[in-house]
Amino acid sequence: MTTNVMIVGVGGQGSLLASKLLGQVAVSQGYDVKVSEVHGMSQRGGSVVTYVRFGDRVNSPVIDQGEADYIISFELLEAARYMSMLKPEGRVIVNDQRIDPMPVITGAMDYPEDLIAKMAAAGAQVDALNCLELAEKAGSSKAVNMVLMGRFSKYFNLPEEVWLSAMEAVVPKKFIEMNKIAFDLGKNA
């Protein structure tokens, strides 16, 4: 059995650190793991997608239609964008922040309304929360990634120490405390 997790958001929101953390947790549990990232042009405020896959044996580094068990999203529209990648009844953990893409900024298109309800209607189980507020409470708007990962950890039966020691492996020392607070706020929200 392979577990497929997509981490999606807007370039610059910190999804690479989230995928690093999840990859590290999976390695510590003895799984085969693949994490696929996109660097370069798409990082500049565009849609970014990271795939994390773990299980007994993982070959492909990517996730395609109907394969994702989870979508962790830093932004509403970005979560909605990948519904066809999600298994029926798959779970979406989403920061309910709205960031206008350029076609909305220029007035060429409208930002879609009621995305949380639409995702549920599309067949997803949606867990939406205001991660930005919780991240700021933890000390920095940049900690949205750890709020989301804390929330995500609720769906796995793993001791908290596993997550925290993985965090120590991937987060610079001086930010550990803040990230731990953000993780807990997401988990317990």
């Binding site: 660097h39 395609d64 964008r81």
Partner: protein, 582 residues
Amino acid sequence: MKEIMLGNKAFARGLYEAGVAVASSYPGTPSTEVTEEAAKYDEIYCEWAPNEKVAMEVAFGASLGGKRSFCAMKHVGLNVAADPLFTVSYTGVNAGMVICVADDPSMHSSQNEQDSRHYAIAAKIPMLEPSDSAEALAFAKRAYEISEEFDTPVIMKMCTRVAHSQSLVETSERITPPARPYEKNIAKYVMMPGNAKKRHPFVEERTRRLIDFAETTDLNRIEWGDKKIGIITSSTSYQYAKEVFGEEASILKLGMIFPMPEKLILDFAAQVEELYVIEELDPIIETHCKNLGLSVHGKDLFPIVGEFSQSLIAKLMGRKANPSCSEIEGRPVRPPVMCAGCPHRGMFYTLSKNKCTVLGDIGCYTLGAVAPLSSIEMTLCMGASISSIHGFNKAQGAESEGKTVAVIGDSTFMHSGMTGLANIAYNQSNSTVIILDNSITGMTGHQQNPTTGYNIKGDPAGKIDLEALCRAMGFERVRVVDPYNLAECDQAIKEELAAPVPSVIISRRPCALLKYVKHNKPLVCNTDKCVGCKMCMKIGCPAISIRDGKAHIDETLCVGCGVCQQMCRLDALEAPEGGVAL
């Protein structure tokens, strides 16, 4: 102990373990991290060269000098380095030399989708193709053994999904390869006709020996499964095929893509009922199989354009699609945009306002072609802005000279802009060139270059003075502007386009994402003053949107650059108390 490692980092680990001593590269997605990670080992001398041709020639020089050497580039970088590539095949090497080329199927961050395997065939240089991080590490070491055994450079071909995927690797200790003293050998290393004529048969003979090697090396392996379906594949396509079929097909996985074995393929084909070749981009393996007289399915089934995935292969080979949640209609796309506070924005807005024809180049600033700035009208390859404006102006004459500009970044200028500028100085077109100097190589994630004054490790290094360089080439009109200051940009553009001689404008301000750049506090829209005229929206800043008919500034994105304030006639965009506006 196994650890999880990015493909490019694993490649760098392989370089370290192989005892590589010298690495010279030019950054390019998705190849950049190989050299960045190699630079973290003190035992490897690493540098950013001004371009890929220089990098490859540095690596050749180091090989000649007796040390294992390396250079890395993206697929289009290999075009730049093609000149040394074809002849280093003839000279061969002294110590081992490996060239990394990273292809970008689906063009995540590239201007074309070329298949670099053609270069291995054309230059007759062996090419290895790893399919995950563990192979990137292992193949890097094998590549040096092949290089030294067969007296040839070896190309390691990466692709985005191998370069930028993390998977498990096991590391080992660095070896110290035996010293290879430099010995004068004019017949081998001076490629003038008399000598090159003798080296060409050597290259052909070497390829024949490499084919024998390919028949038996464990770089190529068969994984027997059900023999109804036989698949020949390589690189990331192997992973997709394995994911779909597991033991339900037999797979011949090629780790060495040039030269390819013949007997191994024929034997494999003879034992399976139906033969498929699964490879991204061009039909290289397929053509080889067909040349061997085999009947195979390849590009009749699988696309020649874009990346593959397990679902794509499953679908095209007749398997049922996975059920999924349903699509949500009406989703606006989210293309990449210039960052909030990007110093390029002010210059592009000014060029747009002055209705200039803008010939562009390769870098973050290529985003100057995107709405609402829609400023750049041409982007081809590194350095083409400057060379092309000269041709454009020669074709169009004085009218075009008065409204056309070339824009090029500092790193791209060092890479391939200088020669084009020399042509303008020499053959005299009245062209206006704007160097967008953001003091870093931005697009690939902040690499130093010859204009920044720092080397790959961040230590002080030589620094080329752009103004002095342009003047030395004969440009009398060279001026520097701050792109955060719209009035200054406007004046410079108008004056330099009107001037009767060629000129260079250096638009100078460091990338807003650089760690040392201090940001101002986010601006705030005073909704009592804002009338919702949307003037501030014309600069295409991702931090500004319209909410309830008024401008709204996203405080998590805004860096207080103040460009939007210069757009607002009502002074509605205000710096918070204690903040500094321009």
